[in-house]
Symmetry: C2
Subunit: 358 residues, 2 copies
């Protein structure tokens, strides 16, 4: 698998289209799946000439079946970004010169031709960096709260909770009065959340983590969890803790467990290893499912999606502000040191690509 | 944990109640959970005097939290059974002397006081053995087909498919025109199903099992599976095969996988080890959930439940016939050899308790 920069020409905009000069595009975990996907990072080899660096990786044979559909294809990367409109079709003239946020892939580029349906004009005074991440994380965080509400869950559990997404979720939950149980892996991460007002923050490395998790669930009534980690046994621990909290409220024993329905959604893959479910401790009323933004938006329909997008635009620099630790050029995204750093997905570390830097 | 026979007195029937002399009660996997539950079978110790045998087991410490609610309690066992009405309350006189099938626990007994709501009168000429298993397996098999229909799945996958339940499911699917993919673990089991007309029977021990499973899913369009095994990787293999079948139909690559929603229900625990999900091969549109008869019946409501029960009564000796390999008395259920045999849950082997044998 080879990563490279390619010269491609951007066509003229159609009636409902614009051409945007991209000034900011974040590197999200959801981008890394496409960017690095099945590659064995230990096999990284540098290549290419000065202005056109390439990085090449070997894909282990066992991972090939899962990516059979992409073999031999050159795939552009970058789910979202922001920039300035430099050309506009007949029906989009009002956007000329405006700064917009965009969603739709192929954002790691100098220019992007895009339908106006997939952009949101930024509020006066907002920078491209402010608008670069206004789709994936904000809509996902709002989607969690919306999902919990629609399915009747009174409170939410979230893992890897100190991420940019997790901080947004905490701010939404505080504003909307939804109890949130945050699970993190260090005291530094716990502090990030406490500083923005989180009341339930648990460190999964603490010896009494499981007991404290059950207590927090009893207190909040959480019956849904959103899990960014996926692999290992944390998902199982969470469902089990929900069941223990439910059993505490029961007055008679049932070998089938509680009648409380417990839902865990896996929306990320920070741990690529298999999910191990100790389901005998769950009772029979449980579900572990995948969660992904596009199908969620499809399911709720255009009106709800528009309401959520409007809230993001309205609260762009407050609830939905993102924090970046490093801004790099397109070419710098192909430096091995940078790649290893953004691939680590360390909490609090976040890369922003600014293609105007070269 | 101690298994024993206890002398208890059965009260007089209330207005809507009857007293039934139990003549047949099956030992289902769903009974073994309560009967043996957390016990370490290797620790079996015999005790008690001649007519009152007891069996005692040690419960490993790690399994204690899951059964904290039942410690110190004497719990009657036996989900379902059939027998003859020997006493009836004011509103139930019509049932006097009739043979009925019953559901509600505590059936491993000589007599059972029960509300008429929880019984079905057997058709003329049906034996107690015919009516002993008219609830758990028949309603579960009908529940699978009903669940698939309500959730829009065009075909079904079933594991441990040569069981009494699996044979009923195959007969229902043939009658209702629902394609069924059966997964078994031996050629003997495959033959049981082929003999009743099954067209898709796969042996999970065959070297080309995975490829054949994908082919069968492509052919039938199955997007839901009911899994009696639970532990290990078979559940994961099934969801992965559904995804591969869906990807085969796609024309462009998506790193998120197919947009086909894939559902696997775990309804049994033939393998007690954890469920290992290789979810990176699932895409994001999937769900693995528990399935249990009582919540299903609650969800569909009394009218659907009545329709399903009526079908069981109508087709008791055809679609829903059960086959027993051994009939034992209550005391014989506490013989170590019998216990080891019914605990094995071998396909095709099925024990029936007849309390009139002593």
């Amino acid at each position: 698998m080879t990563l490279s920069l390619q010269d491609v020409s951007v066509g003229d905009p159609g009636d409902d289209e614009i051409v945007v000069r991209i000034e900011a595009a974040p590197i999200n975990p959801s981008d890394l799946g496409l960017l690095l996907g099945p590659a064995d990072l230990a096999t990284l080899r540098e290549g290419g000439a000065g202005g056109a660096p390439t990085l090449t990786f070997t894909v282990p044979e066992g991972r090939l079946p899962a990516v059979a559909g992409r073999l031999g294809q050159s795939l552009p990367v970058g789910n979202e970004g922001a920039g300035t409109v430099v050309a506009a079709g007949r029906n989009a003239k009002a956007l000329e010169g405006r700064r917009v946020g965009m969603f739709g892939g192929a954002m790691y580029a100098d220019y992007r031709l895009i339908n106006v349906r997939d952009v949101i004009p930024l509020p006066e005074g907002a920078s491209a960096a402010d608008g670069a991440s206004m789709f994936v994380n904000p809509l996902t965080a709002l989607g969690f709260v919306e999902t919990a509400r629609r399915e009747g869950h009174p409170a939410i559990i979230h893992t890897a909770a100190a991420s940019n997404l997790g901080q947004m979720l905490q701010r939404i939950c505080l504003a909307d009065g939804v109890p949130l149980v945050n699970i993190v892996r260090s005291t530094e991460q716990a502090k990030i959340l406490q500083d923005i007002g989180a009341t339930h923050v648990l460190n999964s490395k603490d010896a009494d983590f499981e007991a404290r998790l059950v207590d927090a669930i009893v207190e909040t009534g959480a019956t849904v969890a959103f899990d960014a980690i996926g692999g290992g046994t944390l998902a199982s621990q969470i469902v089990q803790a929900m069941e223990r909290a439910a059993v505490r409220r029961m007055t008679t024993y049932s070998r089938y467990g509680s009648d409380a329905f417990k839902q865990l959604y896996i929306y990320g893959a920070l741990d690529l290893s298999p999910t191990v479910l100790n389901r005998l401790a769950f009772g029979f009323q449980w579900s572990v499912s995948g969660w992904l933004l596009p199908p969620f938006l499809n399911k709720v329909g255009p009106e709800v999606a528009a309401r959520l997008r409007q809230r993001v635009a309205d609260e762009l620099t407050t609830t939905f502000r993102s924090h970046y630790t490093k801004v790099i050029s397109l070419a710098e995204a192909l430096s091995p040191d940078n790649l290893r750093a953004y691939e680590r997905k360390a909490t609090g570390e976040k890369f922003l690509i600014d293609p105007t830097r070269g």
